[in-house]
């Protein structure tokens, strides 16, 4: 494994209050993702995949343990620093309803750049490039509600890439799209990883997604029970 990981998750615990008791979502998860790696989180429903992604994304917080992304210790961040972390270090692609309905495709991708204070001209150049990369340049002036699930997913990826994040997080990217589109999305992910050295963490149940990963973690009941690499990655599904 790489000596200088982009994402380091160390012994993370997380439980939720539920009714009178607690749900233990994560029970000591550790993993590392290197530069350009596509790491998959595979496991049954409720095994803690989304919880782990949220913690890496800086929108949820571990009870104990450590998360370091690109040298930044996420659990120590508060307020404005946290917003800046979400803006610059990670890109998050949700399972569905990713885009802001009041904004066009172009504006959705432009939003994180504007929030980061990027100048108008550079924003225009970046948005155009990103829409080109994910193959939705022709949809720039459309609104999200007029797009197919696959198209929305691509725009969301473009938006996640906007501020050149250290890692892109994807939660079940194939859940709302057909096989053909899943294949295309994963080809895009593989290309971005190869050409730009972009790192990914992808939570999935899907074989088509899992086989494109460079490393897969099999999770159950809030812990990683196995790790697969190379041609074995899809074995995490078994």
């Amino acid at each position: 494994m790489s000596s200088n990981p982009i994402v380091l998750v160390k012994d993370v615990y997380k439980s939720y209050r539920y009714g009178r008791g607690y749900v233990r979502a994560l029970r000591g998860v550790s993993l590392e993702v290197g530069r350009g790696e596509i790491a998959c989180l595979v496991g049954p429903s409720g095994s803690g995949k989304t919880t782990l992604l949220n913690i890496v994304a800086g929108i949820d917080f571990p009870d104990s343990g450590e998360v370091v992304v690109d040298g930044v210790n996420v659990s120590k961040l508060r307020g404005r620093e946290l917003a800046q972390y979400r803006l610059r270090k990670v890109g998050y692609v949700f399972q569905f309803f990713n885009l802001i309905p009041a904004l066009t495709v172009w504006e959705n991708v432009e939003l994180p750049l504007a929030l980061a204070g990027v100048g108008k001209e550079e924003r225009a150049r970046t948005v155009e490039y990103l829409l080109e990369v994910v193959g939705v340049r022709h949809l720039a002036s459309r609104t999200p509600d007029s797009l197919s699930g696959g198209e929305q997913q691509r725009v969301a990826i473009a938006r996640a890439l906007a501020n050149k994040p250290a890692v892109v997080l994807m939660d079940e990217p194939s859940a709302n799209i057909d096989v053909e589109n899943t294949v295309k999305i994963m080809e895009l992910v593989a290309r971005l990883s190869k050409e730009l050295g972009q790192s990914f963490i992808i939570a999935t149940h899907d074989y088509i997604v899992a086989r494109s990963c460079t490393v897969s973690y099999k999770m159950r009941d809030g812990v990683v029970i196995a790790r697969f690499t190379g041609p074995d990655v899809s074995k995490a599904l078994l």
Binding site: A57, L87, A102, L111, P112
Partner: protein, 404 residues
């Protein structure tokens, strides 16, 4: 940047009906405030106008000593006037804040055999000071000692004379044939039983050269009235200074109480509108919980979310206020058809409005009234949006994105 205002606006127009109804709530309050405020503004204006119509000057200076009956030199006693030296006018004109000064000599006499009040005036300065001399026929005389007069409409009707008539004017033993050059109207019949005569002529006929009965003063603007009055009291002995403004103040005070009362009715209506905005904003925050979660996940700070929602409240307030102004203007144009404002009609002997110089055809809507109404409308809406916007800003993204 994708403007926050534009984003807020697009979110609003997605729910057109809700947006319009909420804005309508604000509009009602603003329209109410606007029409009530302009009603009192108009009442105030017409009351002040009435006062001005009776006397257009700010300060009157008269003699304060009572000397009983005054014997005119070489003539029989014809009057019991208290006199002032005409030179006082020069002194007063030099005071800071004085716009114009006019001496008048008011004396009893007869015109064509009828006893009348004779107002000896200097036409040039008199019309400057008493701005409401309303000559409806002919014109004001422009000379200072020629035998020309302007008679009140009431007097003209009584004597059956008009412009061009020649008749005898008598003061004491002196008599002179004068030419009627104009007829004036005040709207108050009693005041119209008088005749304006050039000051020098009156002084000459009465043998009172260099004397007047009052000196009327107009200030640059009403704010100078008090200081000018005090200066006169301090520099000229033996005079009484009558400030017209005391009456004006009284009217203004009464009307400001009325104003406050009306304003509070409008504010009650606006408060209801404000709750409407709050309700709409809470609904918007609840509906867009997931969207807020996504915005925060991609790096939008609390302040961005707060601004986004407060901008919506601001737009609702602005649109509602402007609509309210429109409705308010319409209402204020309709009100005068059903109600009558101004005291003139209540005074016995008063003439119809049509003959009053500044005719009131609609309620006055001043820019201040519009500005106040719009600002209050926007403020109410923004204040109502504060709590919902704060809630939106504090939403925790991890929970929000689980929300469908």
């Amino acid at each position: 940047m994708v403007g926050v205002l534009r984003m807020a606006y697009r979110n609003l127009v997605k729910r057109k009906l809700r947006f319009s109804l909420t804005a309508a709530g604000i509009a009602v309050g603003v329209a109410l405030i606007l029409s009530l405020l302009s009603m009192t503004a108009t009442a105030e204006q017409s009351a002040l106008q009435s006062i001005r119509r009776i006397a257009g000057y700010d300060i009157a200076i008269v003699n304060s000593t009572i000397r009983g009956s005054l014997t005119l030199p070489g003539r029989q006693s014809t009057t019991t006037q208290r006199l002032l030296s005409e030179s006082i006018a020069e002194t007063v004109l030099a005071i800071q804040g004085v716009y114009a000064v006019t001496p008048t000599l008011s004396i009893r006499g007869s015109l064509g055999g009828t006893y009348v009040t004779i107002q000896g005036i200097d036409s040039a300065t008199y019309t400057e000071v008493v701005s409401t001399v309303n000559v409806v026929e002919g014109g004001m005389f422009t000379c200072s000692d020629c035998p020309e007069v302007v008679v009140g409409k009431g007097l003209a009707e009584e004597l059956n004379i008009s412009v061009g008539s020649r008749l005898a004017l008598s003061i004491g033993n002196a008599s002179r044939e004068v030419l009627v050059v104009g007829v004036f109207e005040t709207g108050i019949r009693l005041q119209e039983m008088a005749v304006y005569v050039p000051l020098r002529l009156v002084q000459e006929m009465s043998g009172l050269s260099g004397y007047v009965t009052s000196v009327l003063v107009k200030c640059v603007d009403p704010s100078y009235v008090d200081s000018v009055a005090n200066t006169i009291r301090g520099t000229i002995q033996g005079v009484t200074v009558v400030v017209q403004r005391a009456l004006t103040n009284l009217v203004e005070q009464a009307l400001s109480t009325l104003n406050l009362f009306f304003l509070s009715i409008g504010l009650v209506a606006l408060t209801a509108g404000g709750f409407g905005v709050m309700n709409t904003m809470f609904m918007a925050v609840a509906e867009r919980t997931r969207e807020i979660g996504i915005l925060k996940s991609i790096g939008a700070g609390d302040r961005f979310i707060f601004t986004l929602f407060i901008a919506e409240a601001l737009i609702i307030g602005a649109v509602g206020s402007l609509a309210g102004v429109g409705v308010g203007v319409l209402v204020t144009q309709l009100i005068p058809r059903f109600a009558v404002f101004g005291g003139a009609r209540l005074l016995p002997g008063a003439r119809q409005f049509s003959s009053v110089p500044q005719n009131i055809s609609g309620l006055t809507i001043t820019p201040q009234v519009v500005g106040t109404a719009v600002l209050i409308g926007i403020a109410v809406s923004v204040v109502a949006g504060l709590v919902p916007s704060y809630r939106a800003a504090r939403i925790r993204p991890a929970e929000a994105i689980r929300y469908v």
